[in-house]
């Protein structure tokens, strides 16, 4: 989803303001969701998956916390076009996409494995 929005921005289909407000809406749910999943993995003692999730969850939280006080969220419309921010956001979104795909298959595998074991 972020990829689509960001590439829209890159191609001038939408303006920075609406793009950023769209994206910023999802930052908090993402942080919370990911943190919850990570904690659940820890509780259920799935160490491997927990360790896999941990860096990403940490990064999400870090990114959220490190937003400068005057900015309008992780994605700031006034700065997104500066200093290659758009590109780095794009890169980050790509990496996350890969990560989530990986996770998806891993969870699927684990689920099937769990079902079989039952």
């Amino acid at each position: 989803m972020p990829i689509i929005t960001l590439s829209d921005l890159e191609c001038d289909y939408i303006n920075a303001r609406s793009c950023c407000s769209k994206l910023n809406k999802w930052v908090v749910p993402e942080v919370i969701g990911h943190a919850v999943v990570t904690v659940l993995m820890l509780i259920s003692l799935h160490w491997f998956i927990f360790l896999l999730n941990l860096p990403v969850a940490t990064w999400n939280i870090y990114r959220y916390i490190m937003v400068p006080s005057g900015n309008m969220g992780v994605f700031d419309p006034t700065e997104i076009h500066n200093r290659g921010q758009l590109k780095s956001h794009m890169k980050e979104a790509m990496i996350k996409l890969g990560f989530h795909l990986l996770c998806f298959f891993m969870y699927l595998y684990s689920m099937i494995l769990a079902l079989i074991n039952d």
Partner: protein
């Protein structure tokens, strides 16, 4: 070099000849002969050189000056007399030089012309051209001209009375080999030519005395009337050199003048070109012995119409500039020698530790890109559009190697004295990248043109074939669009999303107790009242007023009311607008009511005890009121907003100012930023006037202007009684603010040739999409900067182009597009990149980057980054360009001022350390760095120091040394002796003495040069303001900062590591 057909045997034609820099010039230009303009096809056949070859040698004695201008209107270019050939670019005149030794009889006129450029002109920066003259010598020569005049060549003298003639073969002649030793003596050997003035009468110019009193009489003054020794000395320099070239000094003074202008490049035509004699004489009179430092053009006391533009034109007459060297007590000799370097020596390494006096004696000019002269002639004025590297590196790798930033600095809405405006049914643009047709496109044939940005081939529309200027059909390449790099189009309706908006002005005043206390309302209302008729606008102009303390007050001004009706809204949590239709009213129809209101407003709140300030809600109300139309909101605020949305808390801790970390440069809330973006979306700009004694968190408040493309003004400790100079400053600046041009609902797009891309923007605006800047208002005092990178390598490209297009609605309700196009050569070697470095632009861009860095990281990071920028670039230069490693700190000639400028930046309020800068002041300076055009930024960073009185910008300081001449004190300051000069004197008394009149005229001239109003402080040795003055002595040591020499040593250490 190719020999043009028409050239006299054996010599370079100076007029149209390709006078390229041999090293750098692209081959295309070479084959070009003046007679066949079209022949060089790939370079830019689009424009035929307006001048034909025929005129080459015919200089009449008369001044052709006017055509010199590179940028002006179509008429100008087109009508250029043949002579223009000389004027177009500096290169031309020097043409003969390379061959230097040829007998140049028939050319004499031309030659001489080069010789005698009027002073002041010297483009020290022309480093690209091999033959430009050393700035120093040249001015002198010119000056002296009257005297020396005639020497060798009586016959040649033009009938015209211009004295300028003498400096026979201009100083540029020294074809000295690059390696030539810098000693002045080396040039002195008398040449074969009729030794004109050469006798070195006097010894070198004495080193400039430190800030003392103006040298009385004895020291060289720029007088022309008598062959002053000083002049002679310089002359000798130039003369001698040129003699080497065996130029028969023929001289035609008049020609000289003209050509000079051309060189200056900035000499936008119109400036009245006096014969040299006149100005000089006049100058003498006015300058007198003791004021050698008057700026050029001083004598034109009348306000230059368009400050910036004329300024350049005004410069020539004055030799005096020569003294304006900030470096105190430095050695004059070296300075002049520094200037002597040949063009080829643009690359000449300068050992900064040895050559200390490197400042040019005149205003530093932008380097001239190394383009074919015909292209260069059409290129955009560097004051409008400037690139940090006038030679664009071919690849990103090369750029990285040079360690210099690549970027553009723009001043797109600058007041121009002449601007071609095209009213045409069609606006020809590239179909794929939407570039406007410009002088740098190429016409493949009559019906097709090739875009110079994306290389798409487009059709020429039928209408475009007809040239409205010459009324000829079938000459698309002669239309004004293709002849002017700066042009304005009247936009048809496709360029409007809605009908053009009327000018709408809304004033929002803080009327809390604190505000009333400062008494600013009187000043503002009075100024507004005085300028109500000169607000830019038309019959549709609308105006409105809001005041606020802890509540918001609206003023109903509808027709039919006998007096303004005040409406108070106390619900500041959810602001609503009562009677929106009556709050913004037509200015013309309701003028009396408005005047009434302005007269009563200052008295209305005198009893107010309300101390709270609800700025946030007031801004929201203003935004709601304005959003249907768009326009300009002017906010006056005197304290920290304390209630409602956007309330702020004080964050400054004075004790911690010293520790450069932990200072609050970032906004504390995003309220103002969001509101600014809302405003931007509705085409509303907010301008903030902050008049505050205490900390007001400009970092947060400033966002409202920054993202809505407004401007910020800051008057520290404004008070009607305690601080009268600030009152005057406010008055003057407000007047300028109210009456300057304004463009509404504007957008600006900056395009560049495929392969380059813009990655960062600096200035006040909101970047709406990748390259579209949203500017709800645009004003002539705003500058912008962008950083670029080379995305794809620019192989096979000779040149790249940049185009900025500003679409705006004028105050008359017309939709207009102002387009600037600049063309620069591409180079492949590192040394060429250094050759074309524009040190001022680089400094300006680095300052912008440093502001960003200090906001996103810390101030000390930013300072380090600035220092590293110098170290890295000089280290890169040392390791990859210099073949012989010499001891010392070497810099390319083009960057010789780089360390100095960076040091100046470090000492500037925005980046300095130490406790004496208040946070708001620092942030205000940062805002200015971001928002000011380069010219003013450089003035702010590296102020000019004039001898008569030492004036810096922003604030002017008149320094009265203890040992100041008694005469000056009584005649100018109007007090009997040094001891009785009052401690805080800020005005010069209006005395009837010649000195007084002269000094005051000089100061007002300086003030007219800039859009802000500098306060004049007269400072004595023991004054408390002494430190502020010394702060501007960049090269000196202060408590917390290094002196220039120490800084150089530091850099040297780092570079050699």
């Amino acid at each position: 070099m190719a020999q043009p057909a028409g050239a006299p045997t054996g010599q370079q034609p100076y007029s149209n000849g390709p006078v390229q820099n041999q090293l750098m010039h692209s081959p295309d230009g070479q084959g070009y002969s003046p007679a066949v303009p079209g022949s060089y096809s790939h370079q830019m056949p689009a424009k035929v050189p307006p001048h034909q070859s025929s005129g080459q040698y015919s200089y009449s004695g008369s001044q052709n000056v006017s055509q010199l201008n590179n940028y002006q209107g179509p008429g100008q270019t087109l009508n250029r007399p043949p002579v223009a050939a000389f004027s177009g670019s500096p290169v031309q005149q020097p043409g003969p030089v390379p061959q230097g030794l040829l007998p140049v009889l028939q050319n004499s006129a031309a030659v001489s012309s080069a010789g005698s450029f009027p002073p002041g002109a010297s483009p020290p920066v022309l480093s690209n051209w091999q033959y430009s003259q050393p700035p120093v010598s040249q001015p002198l020569g010119a000056q002296t001209s009257p005297l020396a005049g005639v020497p060798g060549t009586g016959s040649a003298q033009p009938p015209s009375s211009l004295p300028g003639s003498t400096n026979p073969a201009g100083s540029y002649q020294y074809a000295a080999s690059p390696g030539a030793p810098l000693l002045q003596n080396s040039y002195m050997k008398p040449g074969s030519a009729p030794p004109p003035v050469t006798q070195p009468l006097t010894p070198l110019h004495p080193p400039r005395p430190p800030l003392g009193p103006p040298p009385v009489g004895g020291s060289p003054r720029p007088s022309t009337a008598v062959a002053g020794p000083p002049s002679a000395q310089f002359l000798q320099k130039s003369a001698a050199n040129q003699e080497g070239d065996a130029m028969p000094a023929a001289s035609d003074g008049s020609v000289v003048q003209n050509s000079y202008d051309a060189i200056e490049g900035g000499g936008l035509m119109a400036a009245p070109h006096y014969s040299p004699a006149a100005p000089n004489l006049k100058m003498n009179r006015s300058v007198g012995y003791s004021y050698p430092a008057l700026p050029p053009g001083y004598q034109h006391t009348s306000p230059p119409g368009a400050p910036g533009m004329n300024a350049s034109a005004l410069q020539y007459p004055d030799g005096s500039k020569h003294f304006h060297q900030p470096a105190m007590g430095t050695n004059h000799l070296t300075a002049s020698m520094g200037g002597l370097s040949l063009q080829q020596e643009g690359l000449r390494p300068v050992n900064l530790l040895q050559e200390r006096n490197i400042l040019p004696t005149t205003l530093l000019k932008a380097p001239v890109p190394n383009l074919h002269e015909d292209i260069q002639k059409l290129n955009c004025n560097p004051e409008l559009f400037r690139c940090t590297l006038t030679n664009i590196p071919q690849t990103q790798a090369l750029l990285n190697k040079a360690k210099l930033p690549l970027g553009l600095l723009l001043h797109p809405f600058k007041d121009l004295s002449q601007l071609p405006v095209v009213t045409s049914s069609i606006i020809v643009r590239c179909r794929s990248c939407r570039t406007y047709i410009n002088p740098f496109v190429s016409f493949l044939d009559q019906r097709r043109w090739k875009c110079n940005l994306c290389y798409r081939v487009n059709d020429v529309p039928e209408e475009f074939l007809y040239n409205p200027v010459t009324r000829v059909y079938g000459e698309p390449h002669k239309r004004p669009e293709v002849q002017n790099a700066t042009i304005e189009f009247m936009a048809p309706s496709e360029y409007m999303l809605r009908p053009p908006q009327p000018p709408v002005y809304l004033f929002v005043f803080d009327v809390s107790h604190n505000a009333i206390e400062t008494g600013y309302l009187d000043t503002v209302c009075q100024t507004l009242l005085d300028n109500l008729d000169s607000l830019p606008g038309n019959t549709r102009t609308k105006i409105g007023f809001i005041t606020f303390d802890s509540t918001i007050h609206f003023y109903g001004l509808q027709e039919g009311l006998s007096q303004p009706q005040m409406l108070i809204v106390s619900d500041i949590e959810d602001v609503f607008i009562p009677m929106p239709e009556n709050l913004l009213v037509n200015l013309n129809e309701n003028k009396e009511l408005i005047q009434d209101l302005l007269k009563t407003l200052p008295q209305m709140f005198t009893k107010s005890l309300e101390t709270q300030s609800a700025l946030g809600p007031a801004l929201q109300a203003a935004f709601k009121l304005m959003s249907p139309t768009g326009g300009r909101i002017t906010v006056f605020q005197t304290q920290l907003p304390s209630v409602g949305m956007g309330a702020l808390k004080s964050r400054e801790e004075p004790n911690q100012r010293a520790t450069a970390k932990d200072i609050h440069l970032t906004p504390s809330t995003d309220f103002y930023k969001k509101l600014a973006l809302d405003c931007s979306g509705q085409q509303v700009a907010v301008d903030l006037f902050l008049l505050s004694g205490q900390y007001s968190d400009l970092a947060s408040l400033g966002c409202i202007s920054r993202y809505s493309a407004g401007s910020v003004y800051y008057y520290q400790s404004y008070h009607r009684k305690h601080n009268p100079v600030q009152v005057e400053k406010l008055q003057k600046e407000l007047k300028r603010y109210l009456t300057r041009k304004i463009g509404f609902e504007a957008v600006m797009r900056i395009r560049c040739t495929k392969g380059l891309s813009i990655h960062t923007f600096h200035g006040n605006f909101f970047v709406r999409s990748t390259d579209l800047l949203s500017l709800p208002n645009v004003n002539p005092d705003a500058g912008y900067a962008v950083q670029m990178s080379v995305e794809e390598s620019l192989t096979d490209m000779q040149v790249v182009s940049f185009q900025s297009a500003l679409l705006y609605t004028s105050s008359k309700g017309e939709r207009r597009i102002r387009v600037h196009t600049m063309c620069l050569p591409v180079v492949t070697t590192l040394s060429d990149v250094y050759l074309g470095a524009d040190v001022q632009a680089i400094t300006g861009l680095l300052a912008n980057m440093a502001v960003d860095r200090s906001v996103s990281a810390t101030l000390s990071d930013a300072r380090d980054a600035l220092v590293n920028a110098v170290i890295d670039s000089l280290a890169a230069y040392r390791s990859s360009v210099l073949s012989i490693q010499q001891p010392g700190l070497t810099a390319p000639y083009s960057l010789r001022l780089f360390p100095l400028y960076i040091l100046a930046l470090l000492k500037q309020k925005a980046f300095q350390t130490g406790t004496n800068t208040r946070l708001d002041e620092r942030i205000f300076t940062m805002c200015q760095v971001k928002n000011q055009p380069l010219v003013y930024l450089m003035l702010m960073t590296h102020p000019s120091l004039y001898k008569v009185d030492n004036l810096t910008d922003e604030v002017m300081f008149l320094w009265i040394g203890k040992n100041c001449g008694q005469g000056f004190i009584t005649q100018v300051l109007g007090v009997p002796n040094y001891g009785s000069i009052p401690q805080n004197m800020t005005h010069l008394p209006e005395l009837e003495t010649a000195e007084s009149i002269r000094t005051r005229a000089f100061i007002s001239w300086l003030r007219e040069q800039r859009p802000f109003f500098p306060i004049l402080y007269i400072i004595k040795d023991e004054s408390p303001l002494k430190s502020s003055f010394l702060q501007n002595m960049i090269e000196d040591r202060t408590e917390s900062a290094l002196s220039y020499y120490e800084f150089l040593l530091h850099i040297q250490q780092q570079v050699n590591k």
